[in-house]
């Protein structure tokens, strides 16, 4: 019997989406405030005020994201006194460590909560950074587009279903196209925007065509359902499928563009250089994190049966192609970065190279026996990479503000003038290379260890040793262009216009990023533990169709955005129930995916460490 869509939805799911809703609404607030102030204040005062309101918005969103994260944890930790406060069904609802929201289209697990916080922190830093100097007149629009791009990123990394994933991807990229082109006083910003747009649209068309073939093969758009159908097909001995191969290639093209993997990277250098520094920072960090998480979800969760070589969809499975792309991306990124004079273009090629390293991590996830550890390693690497890149772009912004140019040589003599910030930038550069005491090293260490893990290698017939070797070689090569920045800062004499003192707005991102990078270096297992716990539920969210559950008012403090709590009269509920059966055809046939972890859904919360392992074993065929 086909599963009938819920004729109504469970309003508590909006509780988990509160940060996104707040950011979307706050984007409008900033936009209209900027227009209102445009007639009253001169541009500089207007920029500071609107910037302050935007920062307040990110602070609020941080608080809401924290609340969304903590309320389920506290309910699980103290079920007794929470019980007095929340209704029984709400308690059950909150105990689900891997809730599938809106009938399977979104995930609400720890990974989504953790990365929502990460996006909001990064957004706060970038908004602070963009207050440093006036690079555009459309000030409110620029901030609003950054806010809406963040909403797109948060929903992209939480999407468990191809339709929501596609719309979130497009929201994010369209906001970033426009943010790139807003620096209208410079010609290259318009050119960067148009090139980014054309490449982006072509690759989203390829991506969509791949999605249509996946929909054709499996008939559904939910990632878990696709996985279940592919596993069924594989068990019935049917593996090789040319349509599956073309779908994999086309989807890889779409994601390849977002991660700036080699065949689709031409836009990255121009976009990073042309875009205003804060927009370039958000493209380099936020867009890459969200795209990579979605990449992992689609390839390591939905298309996982086609991953390993024995699936011979195309001889080595998608692992083979991604391995080749990773190798070429790494080497091209590093070699091209060697001859860059422009700081932002160098950062662009370095982010392409880091895209290559991350793809190695995704291969490890595809092949790994213990998926949560491998995925945790990739998430760890992403967090450290994001903060390191953000600090680097803050330095680029500082350069653009004071010296109106992006050349690396303009950093000359920074060591003498601003020793503290120069040291921080050095630490960031060293972390990007992967020098031991810093977070970057541990990121690469975990990822490459996962790739070399003997169980992974044995499971797939291709050994990843050559790939890890190439990655290490690339890390060494990358040292040369990062060091050039250090040489400019410390060994060169300051030339031309001296760099003005970096005020709080530019210093904060650099200092905070250095703190995170150094902290991740000193206590890697703390961050790795969190990331591994976050990664556990990431790849297994089942489809749960919420039947009409009595939406009694939710006990815990309603977050800033009041979720619409409706009281239904008894007969109205009966009528809707009757309409649900009548209106949308008989109740569904195939039934929602068997809950992968029926075991854990019990009144008493099991300890988290034990639950994922058992769940993972069930899923692995």
């Amino acid at each position: 019997m086909p599963t009938v869509g819920p004729s109504t939805l469970d309003f508590r799911d909006f509780f988990f989406v509160a940060p996104e809703m707040l950011l979307a609404v706050w984007g409008l607030v900033v936009l209209l405030l900027d227009l209102w102030l445009a007639r009253r204040l001169d541009p500089a005062a207007r920029r500071l005020w609107v910037g302050r309101v935007a920062l307040a918005g990110t602070g609020l969103a941080f608080a809401v994201a924290l609340a969304v994260g903590l309320v389920p944890l506290m309910a699980r930790a103290y079920p007794e006194d929470a019980g007095s406060w929340l209704s029984k069904s709400t308690l059950d609802y909150l105990f689900d460590t891997d809730p599938s929201l809106f009938s399977g289209t979104l995930a609400g697990d720890l990974q989504v909560g953790a990365f929502d916080l990460l996006y909001i922190v990064l957004l706060g830093l970038i908004v602070g950074l963009s207050r440093a100097w006036s690079f555009t007149e459309e000030w409110g629009e620029f901030l609003a587009l950054l806010f809406w791009a963040t909403v797109g990123m948060m929903l992209l990394s939480a999407a468990e279903e191809l339709i929501t994933l596609f719309v979130a991807l497009e929201t994010m990229t369209i906001c970033l196209y426009l943010a790139t082109a807003l620096e209208k006083t410079r010609r290259r910003s318009a050119e960067a925007g148009l090139k980014y747009f054309i490449y982006g649209s072509v690759s989203s068309a390829l991506f969509l065509f791949g999605l249509s073939y996946v929909y054709g093969l499996t008939g559904t758009t939910h990632l878990s359902a696709i996985r279940r159908l592919l596993v069924e097909a594989q068990q019935s001995g049917l593996t090789a499928n040319a349509a599956g191969a073309t779908a994999v290639l086309l989807i890889l093209a779409g994601f390849g563009f977002k991660i700036a993997a080699v065949p689709f990277h031409q836009w990255a250098p121009d976009a990073y250089e042309g875009a205003p520094a804060p927009a370039a920072a958000w493209i380099a960090t936020g867009s890459k994190i969200a795209s990579l998480i979605a990449f992992m979800k689609v390839f390591a969760n939905a298309l996982e049966p086609w991953a390993s070589p024995d699936s011979n969809v195309l001889r080595p499975g998608w692992i083979g192609i991604v391995a080749v792309v990773a190798a070429v991306t790494m080497t091209y990124g590093n070699l091209a970065a060697l001859r860059q004079r422009n700081f932002k273009r160098m950062l662009a090629y370095s982010s392409i190279a880091h895209g290559g390293y991350l793809l190695v991590g995704v291969i490890a996830v595809g092949l790994a026996a213990d998926v949560s550890r491998a995925a945790g390693a990739v998430l760890f690497y992403l967090v450290v990479y994001a903060f390191a890149n953000l600090g680097a772009f803050a330095a680029a912004a500082w350069l653009a503000r004071d010296k109106e140019s992006d050349q690396i040589d303009d950093l000359n003599g920074l060591g003498r003038k601003q020793p503290l910030l120069a040291i921080c930038i050095t630490l960031l550069m060293l972390s990007l290379i992967g020098i031991p005491p810093l977070g970057g090293f541990f990121g690469k260490l975990y990822v490459f260890m996962e790739a070399l893990d003997e169980r992974t290698a044995s499971r797939g017939s291709i050994s990843l040793v050559w790939l890890v070797g190439l990655a290490l070689l690339n890390s060494v090569v990358s040292a040369f262009y990062y060091v050039r920045v250090l040489r400019a800062m410390f060994l060169r004499e300051p030339a031309g216009k001296p760099m003005a003192a970096a005020d709080r707005l530019i210093a904060l991102p650099i200092l905070l990023s250095t703190a995170v990078v150094v902290g991740a270096g000193l206590t890697p297992d703390l961050l790795m533990g969190v990331m591994q716990a976050a990664a556990a539920p990431m790849l297994t969210t089942p489809i749960v169709v919420h039947k009409l559950t009595a939406p009694t008012p939710v006990g815990p403090p309603a977050p800033k955005k009041p979720t619409p709590a409706f009281q239904y009269s008894a007969d109205q509920m009966k009528k809707m129930g009757q309409m649900a059966t009548g209106g949308a055809g008989p109740p569904g046939g195939g039934g929602p995916a068997p809950k992968a972890k029926a075991g854990t859904k019990s009144a008493t919360p099991k300890s988290k460490a034990q639950a994922p392992a058992s769940k993972k074993a069930e899923n692995r065929p």
Binding site: W36, P564, G583
Partner: protein, 119 residues
Amino acid sequence: MIINNYIFIGLLLLAAIAFALAPILVARLIAPRKRSRTKSEPYECGVLTLGETWVRFRIQYYIFALMFVVFDVETLFLFPWAAGYASLGLFALVEMVVFLGFLLLGLVYAWAKGVLRWV
């Protein structure tokens, strides 16, 4: 079947095209046809055409076309909502308030920005 209805629409389309072309063909037969250079000049109220017809237009044409596309796509979501509202509860109205709120504020933005003026 659904397609039956649309066969009629197809026939109607052909009939409409025939209805439009028939008089033109008839006019071609019985109307006088005296070709001459001056008659086929583009009509310029008697003034000879100044330079090639090269003219660039102001930006408000693009902005009005853009507003039209965005609000036309908005109706794309309004029609299914309106059609299916009977079997949905009051929550559908709240969702539509949020959706229309966003787009209305987009219109307010364009209005306050001053781009809606046909200067």
